[in-house]
């Protein structure tokens, strides 16, 4: 749906353009390569210093797979919650006009700059057993979120949802509103227009945002350990396991990181073509 089939394709998959037009200027190439090296070298270091021979012994513990499973489940759940709440929020920010919208947008992106540990403390103050809302929740239902897997999802959603909102809002702003207007003139309600016209239009943006949010949730550490604590199988995600392994056994920490890295690369590479728009 993204590119019409009839478009002539002089450069399939973006490669092999006419010469001259594509000569890369050194002023761009040099910093680009430097940037690439800066991002990739630390990962290479991890691979080079990995305790390959001891790897099987380090990775056979049940706690490793417990942590990995929990990480994947909670990151996916956090992405789901982010989609449910974040897409409508992005629509509100992009398509409506009300006083204080700029301020609201700034507030939405606040978790991006807030140190995650502070985010975790803030969540405790509100949703904790003695928190403003949490106290009421505990009294009414007996449910307390801290130290539960649901708490992990809450912490990860708090940190990851802004990525999705920003991405979807950008896509909505770039999308032509006239399609929605046309739908409205044809009698569609605003909700129908959103569902049938807007959503398909910004699907690539939603996909990209979801992948970003998932990746951020998977690597989440600070808010999780502060709000949800650390208990194997219940709230100990991979980053927490890596951190604690680092305290006593850096080799094990490297081994755990490799697993997380491999899974992330597999999932992100697998999703890229399907979800993210790659012109």
């Amino acid at each position: 749906m993204s590119t019409p089939r009839t478009t002539p394709a002089p450069h399939p998959r973006g490669r092999r353009r006419p010469r001259g037009a594509t000569r890369v200027p050194a002023a761009l190439l040099l910093p680009a390569l430097l940037g690439l090296a800066f991002l990739v070298l630390p990962l290479l270091g991890l691979l080079i210093r990995a305790p390959w021979s001891a790897l099987p012994a380090l990775l056979t513990g049940p706690e490793v797979w417990q942590a990995l499973r929990l990480s994947l489940i909670s990151a996916t759940a956090a992405t789901g919650v982010s989609l449910l709440l974040g897409v409508p929020l992005a629509w509100l920010l992009a398509r409506t006009d009300f006083p204080g919208r700029r301020l609201l947008r700034a507030l939405v992106t606040l978790p991006l700059v807030l140190p995650p540990v502070v985010g975790g403390v803030a969540l405790l103050l509100v949703l904790g057993r003695a928190g403003i809302v949490g106290r009421w929740l505990d009294a009414a239902t007996g449910i307390t979120l801290p130290f539960t897997t649901a708490g992990v999802v809450v912490a990860e959603t708090f940190v990851a949802m802004p990525f999705l909102v920003i991405s979807v809002e950008g896509a909505l702003r770039a999308a032509d509103p006239r399609y929605e207007e046309a739908a409205a003139t044809l009698g569609a309600s605003r909700l129908t227009a959103f569902r049938r016209v807007t959503l398909p239009l910004v699907a690539p943006g939603i996909g990209a945002g979801a992948v970003l949010a998932w990746a951020r949730a998977l690597g989440e550490f600070g808010a999780t350990i502060t709000f949800a604590g650390n208990f194997p199988g219940r709230t100990q995600t991979m980053p927490l396991a890596v951190y604690l392994a680092m305290e006593s056994d850096p080799q094990a920490a490297i081994a755990l990181s490799l697993i997380l890295l491999a899974v992330s690369i597999a999932v992100l590479a697998g999703l890229r073509d399907r979800w993210m728009s790659t012109p």
Binding site: V121, L124, L125, G128, R129, A130, P146, F147, I225, T226, A228, G229, N230, F231, P232, T235, Q236, L240, Y243, L244, A245, M246, E247, S248, P250
Partner: protein, 262 residues
Amino acid sequence: MRSARSLLAATAVLALAAALTACTANNPPSNNGAQNAPKVDGTVTVFAAASLKESFTELGKRFEAAYPGAKVSFNFGGSSALAQSIVSGAPVDVFAAASPATMKTVTDAKLTGEDPRVFVRNTLEIAVAKGNPKHIGGLKDLGGVKTALCAKEVPCGAAAVTALKAAGVEVTPATYEQDVKGALTKVELGEVDASLVYRTDVKADAAKIDGVEFPESAQAVNDYPVVSLGKAPNANGAAAFLGYLNSMDARRVLTEAGFQVP
């Protein structure tokens, strides 16, 4: 012309520095044995266990007052993480750890100037909310309430395991915190009813929490070793700081913080 001027400026700076040093030399520190010791100035970098934060911050101020020209720069954190960064080459003058096991990481790497010396000991207490609303009297009561323990990888967690074993009590905590301050915060915020933390942490936070002593803590005493590093960038500063830790002044500060000083 330019070089002549900069030369003049440099001379002026040197003269000023000499005058300043002369001033400090006329004002000898009041501490024992410091008069004839090599001159102490510059920054002394101290890596210290998180549980030393309050007392070492105070000691740092007093040390700087005693040695004008010297500045103490602290890095507080989990002992194991600090030990790892020292082994990885962090430029450090003094390392104070919360357990011999974490110190061993550094001595095994042959990075220490001399043998570590145990300068304080710390014991565990049960931290509870102000007024002890759950009436916790000892370790055996921890099974029935929501509890936070330190992870066994960090010294306070290792001590907690020893103490619980000595009491013959099994506790399944709500969380294994990554350091002792995390375990303390959870009590302070009311998210757990109790946690096992150091006596010094309870003292430092006495306005917000209460501490419950228990007899088994005697079985889980944590020794805090301190050492100067062989490659200390400021060897004189390191020696002076270690000497100061042994002074009556420092011992009093540490005792007041709740440490046992041997």
